[in-house]
C-alpha cells in the first residue's frame, strides 16, 4: 500500500477516538490541526472511499447496554468451513469471525442479551453444522482494550 501523507496520518490519529461532540465536528478538528473544515472533510471522505476508514461511529461496552460478550473457538474440518462460517455469521451478535492457524481454526466473538442465549445459540450452531467442539471463553478480567492506533 502507498504511504499515507503526514496530514492524513494526523487526521486519522485525531479521529479514532474522542470524535468531537459539537455541531460542526470537522471544524473543531480543523482548528486543532490548522487546516480548513473543507480540507478535513475532503480528506476524511477520501480515506473512507479508499477503505482505510471502515466506519465512523460509537463503540459501546456490551455489559453497560444490557448485553454480555464472549469469545468462541471451534474445531472445524476443512470441508465444513464454508457451512460453519455461513451458519455462524448469520447471527447478528457475531461481530468478528476469523479463520486462524490452529486446531481451533475458527474464532468468533458473540454479543447477546444473556449467557443463556449464547449457550443456546452455540448448541443451535453445533446441531446445524455437526461441529460440536466449540469453546465458549467469556472474559473474566479485562486488562486492556486499546482505543487508538498511532500511525
Amino acid at each position: 500500500m502507498p504511504e499515507l501523507e503526514a496530514v492524513d496520518r494526523a487526521i486519522l490519529n485525531r479521529i479514532q477516538s474522542n470524535f468531537p461532540i459539537a455541531a460542526r465536528p470537522y471544524a473543531v478538528i480543523a482548528a486543532e490541526l490548522n487546516l480548513s473544515e473543507k480540507e478535513i472533510l475532503e480528506r476524511v471522505r477520501a480515506l473512507k472511499s479508499a477503505g482505510i476508514i471502515r466506519r465512523i461511529g460509537g463503540n459501546f461496552v456490551p455489559h453497560k447496554v444490557g448485553h454480555v460478550s464472549t469469545l468462541c473457538a471451534a474445531k472445524v474440518p476443512e470441508e465444513k468451513l464454508a457451512l460453519f462460517a455461513e451458519t455462524v455469521n448469520r447471527y447478528p451478535g457475531v461481530t468478528h469471525n476469523y479463520r486462524r492457524e490452529n486446531a481451533y481454526n475458527v474464532w468468533f466473538t458473540f454479543i447477546s442479551p444473556s449467557r443463556a442465549d449464547i449457550a443456546a445459540n452455540l448448541e443451535e450452531i453445533a446441531a446445524a453444522t455437526g461441529v460440536t467442539d466449540i469453546l465458549n471463553l467469556p472474559a473474566t478480567h479485562v486488562f486492556k482494550i486499546k482505543a487508538q492506533f498511532e500511525l
Partner: protein, 157 residues
C-alpha cells in the same frame, strides 16, 4: 438503566455517521429529537463510560498494520494480575483479557498483537514471553476475515 431516548441515540450512532459538515443535525432529525439533545445524550454516554470509544475504526491492513496474532498464554493463576498488566503495557497489544482455561485448551490469558508482518508479531511475542517469564503460548495468526462488523444494539425493525 438506559432511557428510551438513549437507546434510540445508541441505535443511531453505532453504525456509520455521514461525513458532512453537520452530521448530528441529520442523525437527530432521523430519530426525531433536537440536535442539542442528541449532543447532550452523546456526551452523557461518554461521561458514564457507556460509549467506550467514539470515532473512526480503521482497516489495519490498509493503514500499515499488516499482521495480527491472537496470542493465548498459559499463566500461573497466582501471577495473572502481574502478567496481565505487564503484557497490556506493550504498545503492540490492543486487547488483553483473562479467560477461564478449558480441558482441551489450557490457556488463560489472551493478547492481540499487531505488527507490520508475522515475523514482527512473533518477535513481539518472544519479547513479551521473556519479560513475563511465561514459556507456554500459541500465536494464532488470522488467515481469513470471515466477518467483521459492529454490534447492532436496539434494532428498530
Amino acid at each position: 438503566m438506559l432511557t428510551e431516548i438513549e437507546k434510540r441515540v445508541i441505535a443511531s450512532i453505532q453504525g456509520d455517521m455521514p461525513i458532512v459538515e453537520q452530521p448530528y443535525r441529520e442523525i437527530a432529525h432521523a430519530i426525531g429529537i433536537r440536535e442539542e439533545e442528541l449532543l447532550a445524550v452523546l456526551q452523557s454516554l461518554v461521561d458514564r463510560g457507556i460509549m467506550r470509544r467514539f470515532g473512526a475504526t480503521l482497516r489495519h491492513q490498509r493503514s500499515g498494520f499488516d499482521a495480527n496474532a491472537m496470542t493465548a498464554w498459559q499463566v500461573d493463576e497466582a501471577r495473572i494480575e502481574e502478567v496481565g498488566a505487564l503484557m497490556a503495557a506493550f504498545p503492540q497489544v490492543s486487547h488483553c483479557y483473562r479467560r477461564d482455561p478449558k480441558p482441551t485448551w489450557p490457556y488463560n490469558l489472551y493478547t492481540m498483537i499487531h505488527g507490520t508482518s508475522e515475523a514482527d508479531c512473533i518477535a513481539t511475542a518472544r519479547e513479551m514471553a521473556a519479560k513475563a517469564g511465561v514459556s507456554t503460548y500459541e500465536l494464532l495468526f488470522s488467515k481469513e476475515e470471515l466477518k467483521k462488523t459492529s454490534m447492532t444494539y436496539f434494532p428498530t425493525d
